[in-house]
Symmetry: D2
Protein backbone atom coordinates (compact mmCIF):
# COMPACT_ATOMS: atom_id res chain seq x y z
CA UNK A 1 0.00 0.00 0.00
CA UNK A 2 1.14 3.50 -0.72
CA UNK A 3 1.21 6.06 2.06
CA UNK A 4 -1.14 8.46 0.38
CA UNK A 5 -4.86 7.86 0.28
CA UNK A 6 -6.74 8.91 -2.86
CA UNK A 7 -8.64 12.14 -2.11
CA UNK A 8 -12.04 10.66 -3.07
CA UNK A 9 -11.50 7.74 -0.68
CA UNK A 10 -10.49 10.03 2.15
CA UNK A 11 -13.56 12.17 1.43
CA UNK A 12 -15.80 9.10 1.46
CA UNK A 13 -14.43 8.02 4.85
CA UNK A 14 -14.76 11.46 6.41
CA UNK A 15 -18.30 11.83 5.03
CA UNK A 16 -19.39 8.44 6.35
CA UNK A 17 -17.81 9.17 9.73
CA UNK A 18 -19.55 12.56 9.94
CA UNK A 19 -22.93 10.91 9.26
CA UNK A 20 -22.63 8.67 12.35
CA UNK A 21 -24.55 10.20 15.24
CA UNK A 22 -22.71 7.71 17.49
CA UNK A 23 -19.38 9.45 16.77
CA UNK A 24 -20.86 12.75 17.93
CA UNK A 25 -22.22 11.11 21.07
CA UNK A 26 -18.81 9.69 21.96
CA UNK A 27 -16.83 12.70 20.73
CA UNK A 28 -14.80 10.65 18.27
CA UNK A 29 -12.42 12.30 15.80
CA UNK A 30 -10.28 10.94 13.00
CA UNK A 31 -6.68 11.92 13.74
CA UNK A 32 -4.84 9.85 11.13
CA UNK A 33 -5.96 8.49 7.82
CA UNK A 34 -3.82 6.44 5.45
CA UNK A 35 -4.35 3.45 3.15
CA UNK A 36 -5.34 0.55 5.38
CA UNK A 37 -4.86 2.54 8.56
CA UNK A 38 -7.16 4.88 10.51
CA UNK A 39 -6.67 6.37 13.98
CA UNK A 40 -9.63 7.70 15.98
CA UNK A 41 -9.49 9.52 19.30
CA UNK A 42 -12.17 10.20 21.89
CA UNK A 43 -12.40 11.31 25.51
CA UNK A 44 -14.12 9.06 28.05
CA UNK A 45 -17.28 11.08 28.61
CA UNK A 46 -19.06 10.69 31.93
CA UNK A 47 -22.13 9.10 30.33
CA UNK A 48 -20.09 6.36 28.66
CA UNK A 49 -18.60 4.79 31.77
CA UNK A 50 -19.26 1.57 33.60
CA UNK A 51 -20.01 1.08 37.29
CA UNK A 52 -16.41 1.66 38.44
CA UNK A 53 -15.83 4.86 36.49
CA UNK A 54 -13.76 3.32 33.69
CA UNK A 55 -14.68 3.44 30.01
CA UNK A 56 -17.53 1.00 29.33
CA UNK A 57 -16.42 -1.94 27.16
CA UNK A 58 -19.09 -0.77 24.74
CA UNK A 59 -17.27 2.53 24.21
CA UNK A 60 -13.93 0.79 23.70
CA UNK A 61 -15.57 -1.57 21.23
CA UNK A 62 -17.29 1.31 19.41
CA UNK A 63 -13.98 3.09 18.78
CA UNK A 64 -12.15 -0.10 17.79
CA UNK A 65 -14.98 -1.10 15.45
CA UNK A 66 -14.98 2.28 13.75
CA UNK A 67 -11.19 2.43 13.38
CA UNK A 68 -11.13 -1.08 11.92
CA UNK A 69 -14.15 -0.44 9.72
CA UNK A 70 -12.79 2.74 8.17
CA UNK A 71 -9.36 1.14 7.71
CA UNK A 72 -11.24 -1.50 5.70
CA UNK A 73 -13.21 1.11 3.76
CA UNK A 74 -9.93 2.77 2.77
CA UNK A 75 -9.03 -0.30 0.69
CA UNK A 76 -12.51 -0.95 -0.77
CA UNK A 77 -13.58 0.02 -4.28
CA UNK A 78 -15.14 3.45 -4.89
CA UNK A 79 -18.87 3.60 -4.14
CA UNK A 80 -18.68 1.10 -1.27
CA UNK A 81 -19.90 1.42 2.26
CA UNK A 82 -18.52 -0.86 4.96
CA UNK A 83 -20.38 -3.26 7.25
CA UNK A 84 -18.99 -5.03 10.32
CA UNK A 85 -19.46 -8.78 9.95
CA UNK A 86 -17.86 -9.84 13.21
CA UNK A 87 -15.33 -8.65 15.73
CA UNK A 88 -13.50 -10.17 18.67
CA UNK A 89 -12.28 -7.98 21.47
CA UNK A 90 -9.88 -8.78 24.30
CA UNK A 91 -10.01 -6.23 27.08
CA UNK A 92 -6.51 -5.85 28.54
CA UNK A 93 -6.68 -3.01 31.05
CA UNK A 94 -9.24 -0.54 32.38
CA UNK A 95 -10.10 2.26 29.96
CA UNK A 96 -8.61 5.44 31.41
CA UNK A 97 -7.49 8.79 29.99
CA UNK A 98 -8.03 9.69 26.36
CA UNK A 99 -8.80 6.71 24.10
CA UNK A 100 -6.89 6.21 20.86
CA UNK A 101 -8.08 3.50 18.47
CA UNK A 102 -5.77 2.39 15.65
CA UNK A 103 -7.43 0.29 12.97
CA UNK A 104 -5.47 -1.60 10.31
CA UNK A 105 -6.07 -4.01 7.46
CA UNK A 106 -4.63 -7.50 7.91
CA UNK A 107 -5.83 -8.68 4.53
CA UNK A 108 -7.71 -6.77 1.87
CA UNK A 109 -10.03 -8.69 -0.42
CA UNK A 110 -12.87 -8.27 -2.86
CA UNK A 111 -15.41 -10.13 -0.74
CA UNK A 112 -13.98 -9.73 2.77
CA UNK A 113 -11.49 -7.44 4.48
CA UNK A 114 -9.81 -8.83 7.59
CA UNK A 115 -8.98 -6.14 10.13
CA UNK A 116 -7.45 -5.52 13.54
CA UNK A 117 -7.54 -2.60 15.93
CA UNK A 118 -5.72 -1.64 19.10
CA UNK A 119 -7.28 0.73 21.59
CA UNK A 120 -4.95 2.68 23.87
CA UNK A 121 -5.57 4.78 26.95
CA UNK A 122 -3.37 7.87 26.98
CA UNK A 123 -2.84 9.87 30.15
CA UNK A 124 -2.07 13.58 30.45
CA UNK A 125 1.69 13.00 30.23
CA UNK A 126 1.18 11.19 26.93
CA UNK A 127 1.97 7.74 28.36
CA UNK A 128 -0.10 5.05 26.68
CA UNK A 129 -1.38 1.71 27.87
CA UNK A 130 -3.00 -0.94 25.70
CA UNK A 131 -6.67 -1.19 26.69
CA UNK A 132 -8.00 -3.61 24.07
CA UNK A 133 -7.10 -5.61 20.98
CA UNK A 134 -9.69 -6.39 18.31
CA UNK A 135 -9.66 -8.68 15.30
CA UNK A 136 -12.48 -9.15 12.81
CA UNK A 137 -14.06 -9.06 9.38
CA UNK A 138 -15.62 -6.27 7.32
CA UNK A 139 -17.49 -6.46 4.02
CA UNK A 140 -18.17 -3.89 1.34
CA UNK A 141 -21.79 -3.05 0.60
CA UNK A 142 -23.04 -1.03 -2.32
CA UNK A 143 -24.90 2.11 -1.35
CA UNK B 1 -29.71 -23.88 38.36
CA UNK B 2 -32.86 -23.04 40.21
CA UNK B 3 -35.27 -20.51 38.75
CA UNK B 4 -35.16 -18.15 41.67
CA UNK B 5 -32.25 -15.82 42.21
CA UNK B 6 -31.18 -15.12 45.79
CA UNK B 7 -32.44 -11.63 46.76
CA UNK B 8 -28.95 -10.36 47.65
CA UNK B 9 -27.62 -11.42 44.25
CA UNK B 10 -30.50 -9.75 42.44
CA UNK B 11 -29.91 -6.62 44.51
CA UNK B 12 -26.19 -6.67 43.67
CA UNK B 13 -26.93 -6.90 39.94
CA UNK B 14 -29.54 -4.14 39.99
CA UNK B 15 -27.23 -1.91 42.03
CA UNK B 16 -24.26 -2.45 39.69
CA UNK B 17 -26.49 -1.85 36.67
CA UNK B 18 -27.85 1.38 38.17
CA UNK B 19 -24.31 2.64 38.74
CA UNK B 20 -23.45 2.44 35.02
CA UNK B 21 -23.83 5.85 33.40
CA UNK B 22 -23.66 4.02 30.04
CA UNK B 23 -26.97 2.29 30.75
CA UNK B 24 -28.63 5.63 31.32
CA UNK B 25 -27.11 6.99 28.10
CA UNK B 26 -28.50 4.07 26.08
CA UNK B 27 -31.78 3.81 28.03
CA UNK B 28 -31.16 0.18 29.03
CA UNK B 29 -33.46 -1.62 31.48
CA UNK B 30 -33.32 -5.07 33.03
CA UNK B 31 -36.55 -6.85 32.08
CA UNK B 32 -35.76 -10.38 33.24
CA UNK B 33 -33.41 -11.66 35.88
CA UNK B 34 -32.86 -15.30 36.79
CA UNK B 35 -29.88 -17.48 37.75
CA UNK B 36 -27.56 -17.47 34.75
CA UNK B 37 -29.92 -15.43 32.61
CA UNK B 38 -30.49 -11.69 32.24
CA UNK B 39 -32.56 -9.82 29.64
CA UNK B 40 -31.96 -6.14 28.94
CA UNK B 41 -34.01 -3.90 26.67
CA UNK B 42 -33.22 -0.53 25.11
CA UNK B 43 -34.56 1.70 22.36
CA UNK B 44 -32.27 2.74 19.50
CA UNK B 45 -31.77 6.37 20.40
CA UNK B 46 -30.95 8.79 17.60
CA UNK B 47 -27.48 9.51 18.98
CA UNK B 48 -26.49 5.83 19.00
CA UNK B 49 -26.92 5.13 15.30
CA UNK B 50 -24.46 4.56 12.49
CA UNK B 51 -24.32 6.30 9.13
CA UNK B 52 -27.32 4.47 7.64
CA UNK B 53 -29.67 5.06 10.56
CA UNK B 54 -29.35 1.56 12.07
CA UNK B 55 -28.16 0.83 15.59
CA UNK B 56 -24.37 1.26 15.77
CA UNK B 57 -22.56 -2.04 16.32
CA UNK B 58 -21.19 -0.42 19.48
CA UNK B 59 -24.71 -0.12 20.92
CA UNK B 60 -25.54 -3.72 20.05
CA UNK B 61 -22.27 -4.83 21.63
CA UNK B 62 -22.90 -2.70 24.75
CA UNK B 63 -26.25 -4.38 25.41
CA UNK B 64 -24.96 -7.89 24.67
CA UNK B 65 -21.92 -7.31 26.89
CA UNK B 66 -24.06 -6.12 29.79
CA UNK B 67 -26.60 -8.95 29.46
CA UNK B 68 -23.79 -11.52 29.33
CA UNK B 69 -21.87 -9.85 32.14
CA UNK B 70 -24.77 -9.70 34.55
CA UNK B 71 -25.78 -13.26 33.68
CA UNK B 72 -22.24 -14.16 34.77
CA UNK B 73 -22.48 -12.06 37.92
CA UNK B 74 -25.66 -13.94 38.87
CA UNK B 75 -23.61 -17.12 39.32
CA UNK B 76 -20.60 -15.52 41.03
CA UNK B 77 -19.92 -15.62 44.78
CA UNK B 78 -21.29 -12.83 46.99
CA UNK B 79 -19.11 -9.73 47.07
CA UNK B 80 -17.94 -10.08 43.46
CA UNK B 81 -18.04 -7.60 40.66
CA UNK B 82 -17.80 -8.79 37.05
CA UNK B 83 -15.25 -7.84 34.39
CA UNK B 84 -15.44 -8.61 30.66
CA UNK B 85 -12.31 -10.48 29.59
CA UNK B 86 -13.20 -10.94 25.94
CA UNK B 87 -16.22 -11.12 23.68
CA UNK B 88 -16.87 -12.11 20.10
CA UNK B 89 -19.80 -10.68 18.22
CA UNK B 90 -21.31 -11.73 14.91
CA UNK B 91 -23.62 -9.10 13.47
CA UNK B 92 -26.47 -10.88 11.67
CA UNK B 93 -28.90 -8.18 10.58
CA UNK B 94 -29.28 -4.40 10.85
CA UNK B 95 -30.31 -3.21 14.32
CA UNK B 96 -33.89 -1.94 13.99
CA UNK B 97 -36.79 -1.46 16.39
CA UNK B 98 -36.41 -2.04 20.11
CA UNK B 99 -33.31 -4.03 21.09
CA UNK B 100 -33.59 -7.00 23.46
CA UNK B 101 -30.36 -8.60 24.72
CA UNK B 102 -30.55 -12.02 26.38
CA UNK B 103 -27.43 -13.05 28.26
CA UNK B 104 -26.83 -16.59 29.51
CA UNK B 105 -24.11 -18.62 31.20
CA UNK B 106 -22.61 -21.42 29.13
CA UNK B 107 -20.31 -22.56 31.91
CA UNK B 108 -19.98 -21.20 35.43
CA UNK B 109 -16.61 -21.47 37.15
CA UNK B 110 -14.61 -20.16 40.03
CA UNK B 111 -11.97 -18.47 37.87
CA UNK B 112 -13.87 -17.89 34.62
CA UNK B 113 -17.50 -17.76 33.53
CA UNK B 114 -18.17 -18.51 29.87
CA UNK B 115 -21.17 -16.62 28.51
CA UNK B 116 -23.26 -16.02 25.42
CA UNK B 117 -25.79 -13.38 24.45
CA UNK B 118 -28.29 -12.90 21.66
CA UNK B 119 -29.46 -9.45 20.68
CA UNK B 120 -32.85 -9.16 18.96
CA UNK B 121 -34.55 -6.32 17.16
CA UNK B 122 -38.26 -6.19 17.96
CA UNK B 123 -40.66 -4.21 15.80
CA UNK B 124 -43.94 -2.59 16.86
CA UNK B 125 -45.95 -5.74 16.12
CA UNK B 126 -43.66 -7.69 18.47
CA UNK B 127 -41.94 -9.62 15.66
CA UNK B 128 -38.30 -10.26 16.50
CA UNK B 129 -35.24 -10.70 14.31
CA UNK B 130 -31.81 -11.87 15.51
CA UNK B 131 -29.42 -8.92 15.21
CA UNK B 132 -26.29 -10.35 16.84
CA UNK B 133 -24.83 -13.35 18.64
CA UNK B 134 -22.05 -12.95 21.21
CA UNK B 135 -19.82 -15.45 22.98
CA UNK B 136 -17.18 -14.65 25.56
CA UNK B 137 -15.56 -14.82 28.96
CA UNK B 138 -16.19 -12.97 32.23
CA UNK B 139 -14.18 -13.01 35.47
CA UNK B 140 -15.11 -12.18 39.04
CA UNK B 141 -13.22 -9.37 40.72
CA UNK B 142 -13.33 -8.51 44.38
CA UNK B 143 -14.61 -5.04 45.14
CA UNK C 1 -36.00 -25.07 7.23
CA UNK C 2 -37.57 -28.42 6.47
CA UNK C 3 -36.30 -31.50 8.25
CA UNK C 4 -35.33 -33.33 5.10
CA UNK C 5 -32.18 -32.48 3.23
CA UNK C 6 -32.30 -32.67 -0.56
CA UNK C 7 -30.49 -35.86 -1.66
CA UNK C 8 -28.02 -33.99 -3.89
CA UNK C 9 -27.03 -31.70 -1.00
CA UNK C 10 -26.54 -34.65 1.34
CA UNK C 11 -24.46 -36.36 -1.34
CA UNK C 12 -22.35 -33.22 -1.80
CA UNK C 13 -21.64 -33.02 1.92
CA UNK C 14 -20.76 -36.70 2.25
CA UNK C 15 -18.53 -36.51 -0.80
CA UNK C 16 -16.68 -33.43 0.46
CA UNK C 17 -16.29 -35.01 3.90
CA UNK C 18 -14.92 -38.23 2.40
CA UNK C 19 -12.32 -36.26 0.44
CA UNK C 20 -10.80 -34.80 3.64
CA UNK C 21 -7.74 -36.79 4.66
CA UNK C 22 -7.97 -35.01 8.04
CA UNK C 23 -11.27 -36.75 8.80
CA UNK C 24 -9.63 -40.11 8.23
CA UNK C 25 -6.71 -39.13 10.46
CA UNK C 26 -9.04 -38.17 13.32
CA UNK C 27 -11.55 -40.97 12.67
CA UNK C 28 -14.45 -38.55 12.18
CA UNK C 29 -17.87 -39.77 11.02
CA UNK C 30 -21.07 -37.93 10.15
CA UNK C 31 -23.79 -39.30 12.44
CA UNK C 32 -26.59 -36.83 11.72
CA UNK C 33 -27.30 -34.69 8.73
CA UNK C 34 -30.23 -32.31 8.35
CA UNK C 35 -30.79 -28.85 6.85
CA UNK C 36 -28.60 -26.45 8.81
CA UNK C 37 -27.47 -29.13 11.24
CA UNK C 38 -24.64 -31.70 11.11
CA UNK C 39 -23.33 -33.96 13.87
CA UNK C 40 -19.85 -35.50 13.66
CA UNK C 41 -18.34 -38.03 16.06
CA UNK C 42 -14.74 -39.09 16.63
CA UNK C 43 -12.72 -40.94 19.22
CA UNK C 44 -9.78 -39.21 20.91
CA UNK C 45 -6.94 -41.09 19.26
CA UNK C 46 -3.66 -41.34 21.12
CA UNK C 47 -1.79 -39.25 18.56
CA UNK C 48 -4.22 -36.34 18.86
CA UNK C 49 -3.74 -35.61 22.54
CA UNK C 50 -2.01 -32.82 24.42
CA UNK C 51 0.57 -33.11 27.17
CA UNK C 52 -1.89 -34.17 29.88
CA UNK C 53 -3.61 -36.88 27.89
CA UNK C 54 -6.73 -34.89 27.00
CA UNK C 55 -7.90 -34.14 23.47
CA UNK C 56 -5.70 -31.42 21.95
CA UNK C 57 -7.59 -28.15 21.42
CA UNK C 58 -6.67 -28.60 17.76
CA UNK C 59 -8.70 -31.82 17.56
CA UNK C 60 -11.69 -30.22 19.27
CA UNK C 61 -11.46 -27.26 16.91
CA UNK C 62 -11.14 -29.55 13.87
CA UNK C 63 -14.37 -31.35 14.69
CA UNK C 64 -16.26 -28.17 15.56
CA UNK C 65 -15.02 -26.48 12.38
CA UNK C 66 -16.14 -29.39 10.22
CA UNK C 67 -19.55 -29.70 11.88
CA UNK C 68 -20.14 -25.96 11.52
CA UNK C 69 -18.78 -25.90 7.96
CA UNK C 70 -20.96 -28.73 6.69
CA UNK C 71 -24.00 -27.29 8.48
CA UNK C 72 -23.30 -24.16 6.43
CA UNK C 73 -22.81 -26.15 3.22
CA UNK C 74 -26.23 -27.75 3.75
CA UNK C 75 -27.89 -24.36 3.21
CA UNK C 76 -25.66 -23.18 0.34
CA UNK C 77 -26.66 -23.25 -3.34
CA UNK C 78 -25.88 -26.36 -5.44
CA UNK C 79 -22.34 -26.43 -6.79
CA UNK C 80 -20.82 -24.68 -3.78
CA UNK C 81 -17.95 -25.68 -1.60
CA UNK C 82 -17.55 -24.16 1.84
CA UNK C 83 -14.62 -22.21 3.29
CA UNK C 84 -14.06 -21.26 6.92
CA UNK C 85 -13.62 -17.50 7.20
CA UNK C 86 -13.20 -17.28 10.96
CA UNK C 87 -14.10 -19.18 14.11
CA UNK C 88 -14.01 -18.47 17.80
CA UNK C 89 -13.72 -21.30 20.26
CA UNK C 90 -14.21 -21.30 24.02
CA UNK C 91 -12.78 -24.40 25.68
CA UNK C 92 -15.02 -25.30 28.63
CA UNK C 93 -13.73 -28.61 29.97
CA UNK C 94 -11.02 -31.15 29.16
CA UNK C 95 -11.76 -33.29 26.09
CA UNK C 96 -12.45 -36.79 27.38
CA UNK C 97 -14.35 -39.80 26.04
CA UNK C 98 -15.87 -39.84 22.59
CA UNK C 99 -16.21 -36.40 20.99
CA UNK C 100 -19.51 -35.31 19.43
CA UNK C 101 -19.58 -32.06 17.46
CA UNK C 102 -22.95 -30.52 16.61
CA UNK C 103 -22.83 -27.77 13.99
CA UNK C 104 -25.76 -25.47 13.27
CA UNK C 105 -26.58 -22.45 11.14
CA UNK C 106 -27.36 -19.25 13.04
CA UNK C 107 -28.04 -17.26 9.90
CA UNK C 108 -27.96 -18.41 6.29
CA UNK C 109 -27.07 -15.88 3.62
CA UNK C 110 -26.01 -15.58 0.04
CA UNK C 111 -22.60 -14.08 0.86
CA UNK C 112 -21.99 -15.34 4.40
CA UNK C 113 -23.35 -18.11 6.60
CA UNK C 114 -23.05 -17.55 10.35
CA UNK C 115 -22.60 -20.77 12.28
CA UNK C 116 -22.14 -22.24 15.73
CA UNK C 117 -20.99 -25.61 17.02
CA UNK C 118 -20.93 -27.37 20.35
CA UNK C 119 -18.43 -30.13 21.05
CA UNK C 120 -19.34 -32.67 23.72
CA UNK C 121 -17.32 -35.36 25.46
CA UNK C 122 -19.37 -38.51 25.95
CA UNK C 123 -18.28 -41.18 28.40
CA UNK C 124 -19.00 -44.91 28.24
CA UNK C 125 -22.26 -44.55 30.16
CA UNK C 126 -23.46 -42.03 27.57
CA UNK C 127 -23.17 -39.04 29.93
CA UNK C 128 -22.12 -35.91 28.04
CA UNK C 129 -20.21 -32.85 29.10
CA UNK C 130 -19.81 -29.68 27.05
CA UNK C 131 -16.15 -29.42 25.98
CA UNK C 132 -16.25 -26.41 23.67
CA UNK C 133 -18.51 -23.82 22.06
CA UNK C 134 -17.66 -22.31 18.68
CA UNK C 135 -19.13 -19.41 16.72
CA UNK C 136 -18.03 -18.22 13.31
CA UNK C 137 -18.49 -17.44 9.65
CA UNK C 138 -18.44 -19.60 6.50
CA UNK C 139 -18.56 -18.56 2.85
CA UNK C 140 -19.56 -20.42 -0.28
CA UNK C 141 -16.94 -20.85 -2.98
CA UNK C 142 -17.55 -22.08 -6.48
CA UNK C 143 -15.68 -25.24 -7.38
CA UNK D 1 10.97 -8.58 28.55
CA UNK D 2 14.60 -9.56 28.17
CA UNK D 3 15.69 -11.47 25.12
CA UNK D 4 16.98 -14.44 27.04
CA UNK D 5 14.63 -17.01 28.49
CA UNK D 6 15.58 -18.54 31.84
CA UNK D 7 16.93 -22.07 31.20
CA UNK D 8 14.36 -23.73 33.50
CA UNK D 9 11.50 -22.03 31.64
CA UNK D 10 12.88 -23.06 28.27
CA UNK D 11 13.28 -26.61 29.60
CA UNK D 12 9.69 -26.61 30.87
CA UNK D 13 8.36 -25.51 27.46
CA UNK D 14 10.41 -28.06 25.53
CA UNK D 15 9.39 -30.81 27.93
CA UNK D 16 5.68 -29.95 27.69
CA UNK D 17 5.94 -29.72 23.90
CA UNK D 18 7.67 -33.10 23.70
CA UNK D 19 4.89 -34.69 25.75
CA UNK D 20 2.22 -33.73 23.20
CA UNK D 21 1.49 -36.65 20.91
CA UNK D 22 -0.32 -34.14 18.65
CA UNK D 23 2.98 -32.39 17.87
CA UNK D 24 4.47 -35.69 16.72
CA UNK D 25 1.41 -36.37 14.57
CA UNK D 26 1.71 -33.00 12.84
CA UNK D 27 5.52 -32.96 12.78
CA UNK D 28 5.74 -29.72 14.73
CA UNK D 29 9.09 -28.33 15.92
CA UNK D 30 10.03 -25.35 18.03
CA UNK D 31 12.38 -23.20 15.95
CA UNK D 32 12.55 -20.08 18.11
CA UNK D 33 12.02 -19.58 21.78
CA UNK D 34 12.26 -16.27 23.64
CA UNK D 35 10.39 -14.54 26.46
CA UNK D 36 6.84 -14.04 25.23
CA UNK D 37 7.59 -15.37 21.78
CA UNK D 38 7.63 -18.91 20.35
CA UNK D 39 7.91 -20.01 16.72
CA UNK D 40 6.79 -23.48 15.62
CA UNK D 41 7.18 -25.02 12.19
CA UNK D 42 5.48 -28.01 10.58
CA UNK D 43 5.03 -29.48 7.12
CA UNK D 44 1.51 -29.99 5.75
CA UNK D 45 1.33 -33.77 5.94
CA UNK D 46 -0.99 -35.55 3.55
CA UNK D 47 -3.26 -36.78 6.33
CA UNK D 48 -3.84 -33.28 7.69
CA UNK D 49 -5.38 -31.74 4.60
CA UNK D 50 -8.91 -30.72 3.70
CA UNK D 51 -10.91 -31.68 0.62
CA UNK D 52 -9.02 -29.37 -1.77
CA UNK D 53 -5.54 -30.42 -0.72
CA UNK D 54 -4.77 -27.38 1.46
CA UNK D 55 -3.89 -27.52 5.15
CA UNK D 56 -7.04 -28.25 7.17
CA UNK D 57 -8.09 -25.28 9.32
CA UNK D 58 -7.67 -27.66 12.25
CA UNK D 59 -3.96 -28.03 11.52
CA UNK D 60 -3.48 -24.28 11.17
CA UNK D 61 -5.35 -23.76 14.44
CA UNK D 62 -3.32 -26.47 16.18
CA UNK D 63 -0.03 -24.77 15.33
CA UNK D 64 -1.29 -21.29 16.19
CA UNK D 65 -2.73 -22.54 19.49
CA UNK D 66 0.53 -24.19 20.46
CA UNK D 67 2.69 -21.21 19.50
CA UNK D 68 0.41 -18.86 21.45
CA UNK D 69 0.15 -21.24 24.39
CA UNK D 70 3.88 -21.73 24.80
CA UNK D 71 4.49 -18.00 24.34
CA UNK D 72 2.12 -17.59 27.32
CA UNK D 73 3.87 -20.33 29.30
CA UNK D 74 7.18 -18.51 28.81
CA UNK D 75 5.87 -15.63 30.97
CA UNK D 76 4.11 -17.78 33.60
CA UNK D 77 5.52 -18.55 37.06
CA UNK D 78 7.68 -21.67 37.53
CA UNK D 79 5.68 -24.85 38.07
CA UNK D 80 2.81 -23.77 35.79
CA UNK D 81 1.26 -25.55 32.88
CA UNK D 82 -0.78 -23.62 30.32
CA UNK D 83 -4.40 -24.12 29.27
CA UNK D 84 -6.14 -22.53 26.28
CA UNK D 85 -9.23 -20.67 27.47
CA UNK D 86 -10.37 -19.35 24.10
CA UNK D 87 -9.00 -18.49 20.69
CA UNK D 88 -10.28 -16.67 17.65
CA UNK D 89 -8.87 -17.47 14.23
CA UNK D 90 -9.26 -15.60 10.95
CA UNK D 91 -8.23 -17.69 7.97
CA UNK D 92 -6.65 -15.39 5.39
CA UNK D 93 -5.34 -17.61 2.63
CA UNK D 94 -5.12 -21.32 1.81
CA UNK D 95 -2.50 -23.19 3.84
CA UNK D 96 0.29 -24.11 1.43
CA UNK D 97 3.98 -24.92 1.77
CA UNK D 98 5.65 -25.22 5.14
CA UNK D 99 3.67 -23.71 8.01
CA UNK D 100 5.33 -21.32 10.46
CA UNK D 101 3.37 -20.26 13.54
CA UNK D 102 4.62 -17.29 15.57
CA UNK D 103 3.03 -16.90 18.98
CA UNK D 104 3.40 -13.79 21.12
CA UNK D 105 2.14 -12.37 24.38
CA UNK D 106 -0.06 -9.27 24.09
CA UNK D 107 -0.46 -8.93 27.85
CA UNK D 108 1.01 -11.06 30.60
CA UNK D 109 -0.93 -11.39 33.84
CA UNK D 110 -1.19 -13.44 36.98
CA UNK D 111 -4.66 -14.76 36.20
CA UNK D 112 -4.81 -14.48 32.41
CA UNK D 113 -2.30 -14.14 29.58
CA UNK D 114 -3.61 -12.55 26.39
CA UNK D 115 -1.92 -13.89 23.27
CA UNK D 116 -1.80 -13.66 19.51
CA UNK D 117 -0.33 -15.84 16.79
CA UNK D 118 0.27 -15.52 13.08
CA UNK D 119 0.53 -18.58 10.88
CA UNK D 120 2.48 -18.26 7.64
CA UNK D 121 2.79 -20.52 4.63
CA UNK D 122 6.35 -20.58 3.32
CA UNK D 123 7.12 -21.87 -0.15
CA UNK D 124 10.35 -23.48 -1.37
CA UNK D 125 11.85 -20.11 -2.33
CA UNK D 126 11.30 -18.89 1.22
CA UNK D 127 8.47 -16.51 0.26
CA UNK D 128 5.87 -16.29 3.00
CA UNK D 129 2.14 -15.59 2.93
CA UNK D 130 -0.04 -14.93 5.96
CA UNK D 131 -2.41 -17.88 6.31
CA UNK D 132 -4.12 -17.08 9.61
CA UNK D 133 -4.21 -14.64 12.53
CA UNK D 134 -5.24 -15.78 16.01
CA UNK D 135 -6.04 -13.89 19.19
CA UNK D 136 -6.99 -15.41 22.52
CA UNK D 137 -6.56 -16.10 26.20
CA UNK D 138 -4.41 -18.59 28.14
CA UNK D 139 -4.41 -19.39 31.86
CA UNK D 140 -1.79 -20.93 34.11
CA UNK D 141 -2.69 -24.17 35.86
CA UNK D 142 -0.72 -25.81 38.62
CA UNK D 143 0.53 -29.27 37.79
Amino acid sequence: MTDQLAPEIEARIRESFAKQPMMETVGGEIVEIAPGRIVIEAPIREGLRQQQGFAHAGLIFTLGDNAAGYAALSVMPPGSEVLSVELKINLLSPGLGRLVAEGRVLKPGRRLVVVAADVWGVDESGARKLVAALQGTMIPVTV
